[in-house]
């Protein structure tokens, strides 16, 4: 049975959908066990996530974060690399953003500060990915393990910096000083207010524009540039790519720099856009969610934006579930895990049955066609 006979839409549409449905089915079993009607839960979550401009704002705020971390994972995936270090890279990106805002906030106009802070977020994130990338490229140490280690090193480093360096004297909580208001990324409701449109207050800020731009940029980078071609070739068949003259080491390092940069941008949304200060464990697992987002979005920027929206909806809706049913909001984490399990690890499980069904349907149609003739 050669695979050529199966049209592409089966792989792009039917199988991913089947995987998601399976995940949803298992998740609804969990919900039923927790004495929550899954359908009621979904409608509650919809209400909580899109009910008014405030809740929609929260949903899109989470979406923005997931777009960054999801893109970071996806770019690495295209090169056949698994960047688990989004968590640490985003955390260090926050350091970059924070330093720029603390140093320049209020001293230079926002329009000058913003490019610098974007650059800082990207560069800090990228640098945190550089050492694992370099070790993978030149010494063959496995990037999964080194990026995991770098997550822990990042959290120790940030813990140290926050306690010893960034914490203003005389304060108890472990967080940096609040940035000067002139360095804050404007909120969407503030921007809309200028045009006379009233929205409720939400943490959604202009970072979402940058996230969309990054998605377009990643699409262009991966599919329209020579670098992207080299990355994809390396990911699909490293030895063939090397034989074709693509420098593997350089490609790995380039990929991880871009990946780390995208993870670093996460800090623009959460730190410069919302928290306005560096806090302990501000990434809070959202780097890991990027893995689920990338898997669901099939590593394509468009898919990632949609998947981010879904996870944004789940995060915000999950908070609503807590108010409504008193369940732990981390029930959403279960959903995340199930999505990664079914559409990532078990992606082959549904492949053979669906292929078989397809062949059966096609064969049936053929026999009836022959019969009529």
């Amino acid at each position: 049975m050669s695979q050529k006979q199966i049209p592409g839409w089966i792989y792009v549409l039917v199988i991913p959908l089947a995987n998601i449905l399976l995940a949803a089915f298992v998740a609804s079993l969990v919900f039923l066990y927790l004495e929550i009607n899954p359908l009621d839960a979904v409608s509650t979550m919809f209400q909580g996530a899109f009910g008014d401009s405030r809740s929609t704002g929260y949903t899109l705020y989470y979406t923005t974060s997931f777009i960054f971390t999801g893109l970071a994972v996806a770019v690495a995936f295209h090169c056949g690399l698994f960047n688990i270090g989004g968590e640490g890279q985003a955390y260090i990106g926050a350091l970059g953003v924070g330093l720029v805002c603390l140093a320049l906030g209020g001293k230079v106009p926002f329009l000058i500060l913003l490019p610098i802070s974007i650059l800082a977020a990207g560069v800090f994130g990228a640098l945190w990915a550089l050492i694992p990338a370099w070790l993978q490229a030149t010494r063959g140490s496995h990037i999964v393990i080194t990026t995991i280690m770098f997550n822990f090193i990042a959290s120790a480093l940030m813990g140290y910096l926050l306690v010893e360096v960034l914490k203003p004297e005389g304060t108890m909580s472990v967080e940096s000083a609040v940035f000067d208001q002139a360095s804050w990324i404007p909120k969407i409701h503030e921007v809309f207010a200028i045009f006379g449109i009233k929205l409720k207050t939400s943490p959604l800020n202009l970072s979402i524009v940058w996230a969309i731009l990054c998605s377009v940029g990643v699409y262009y980078f991966i599919w329209q540039t020579r670098w992207g071609y080299e990355i994809r070739s390396t990911g699909q068949n490293a030895s063939a790519a090397e034989y074709a003259g693509i420098p593997l080491g350089k490609t790995v390092i380039l990929t991880m720099l871009v990946s780390g940069m995208l993870a670093g941008f996460f800090a623009l949304n959460v730190v410069q856009g919302e928290a306005h200060q560096i806090k302990l464990s501000l990434v809070n697992g959202m780097g890991f969610t990027g893995i689920a987002v990338a898997l669901m979005g099939r590593n394509h920027p468009f898919g990632i934006v949609l998947a981010s929206l879904l996870f944004g909806f789940l995060s915000q809706g999950g908070n609503e579930l807590q108010f409504e049913y008193g369940v732990d909001p981390r029930i959403i984490v279960v959903l995340q895990g199930l999505v990664i399990l079914f559409s990532g690890a078990l992606e082959n499980m549904m492949k053979h049955p669906i292929e078989k069904i397809y062949f059966k349907l096609v064969a049936n149609r053929k026999t009836t066609a022959v019969g009529e003739a």
Binding site: D328, G337, L341, A345
Partner: protein, 328 residues
Amino acid sequence: MEVFTNLILILDATLRVATPLIFAALAGMFSERSGIVNIALEGQILASAFAGAAAAYVTNSPWMGLLAGVMVSVVFAWIHAFATVTHNGDHVVSGMAINILAAGLTAALGNFWFNQGGNTPNLVDPANSIDARFTPINFPFADSLADVPVIGGIYSELMSGHFLLVYLALAAVPICWWIMFRTRFGLRLRAVGENPSAVDTAGISVTHMRYIALTICGILAGLAGVYLSVAVTAQFLPNMSAGKGYMALAALIFGKWRPRGALLACLMFGILQAIADRSQGASLGGFAIPVQAIEALPYVLTVILLGGFIGKAIAPKAIGKPYVKERE
């Protein structure tokens, strides 16, 4: 004398901290030696810690907790096996899924069952006649020898008075070594991780071997989790595994996928942790070392090792690669 007492206390703490790492590193050894990358250790530890504490509380028996914790950990290992061995899924993706699933399930179920923000109730609660914690084992004459200089410190403080699981962890190291390197089963298991097609040609099922390896991995990781919740804290706390699974993996790599090496690495990481826990940083020649630096040291060392700067860690050859018969 003060230095000696401090040393004994630190070594004592080292044993306590290193125990879950030892179990988890041995668990990882069985998995990785059979060719399965297992970052799911973290999730297995967390899930078994939760199941162990919950079962111990409900049945009022630490032993039922042990059983439940190990069983849950084995189930999670089987999910990993189902994804990676049966369906040739990506090992890292599957491991990640299990870790996230474990974090979510323990919190959601914990809150649903006990309503304490994801914690389980305390396992030692005389008011409700709950006493489901493992009790430390005191060696004979430990009390009477406690005041004898040197010997008292070593015997009564360092050797005696640990939980049964601590001694079990230390005993597990030579046992696992023997199974892995001196039995036919161990030979086959290692062969599956190095060259699965050769093992297949010899008429041994690769799938079967890997499932067994992951079952053993599940049992050992379960012991690590149960130790954390039922023995040490006497309670389950959300995210209490706190990266121990990853650290055990680091120790395993540091020990070059061998039991003795892994044990030494776990003890070293344990000492670092014990020092970090005891002090607000240490000082070296008048230069203060922040406590976070000591905490980060195991990870930094592992990265340096992986870079091949101190010795070379060579992973099992077929690790992370799904075994598909037709392709070989």
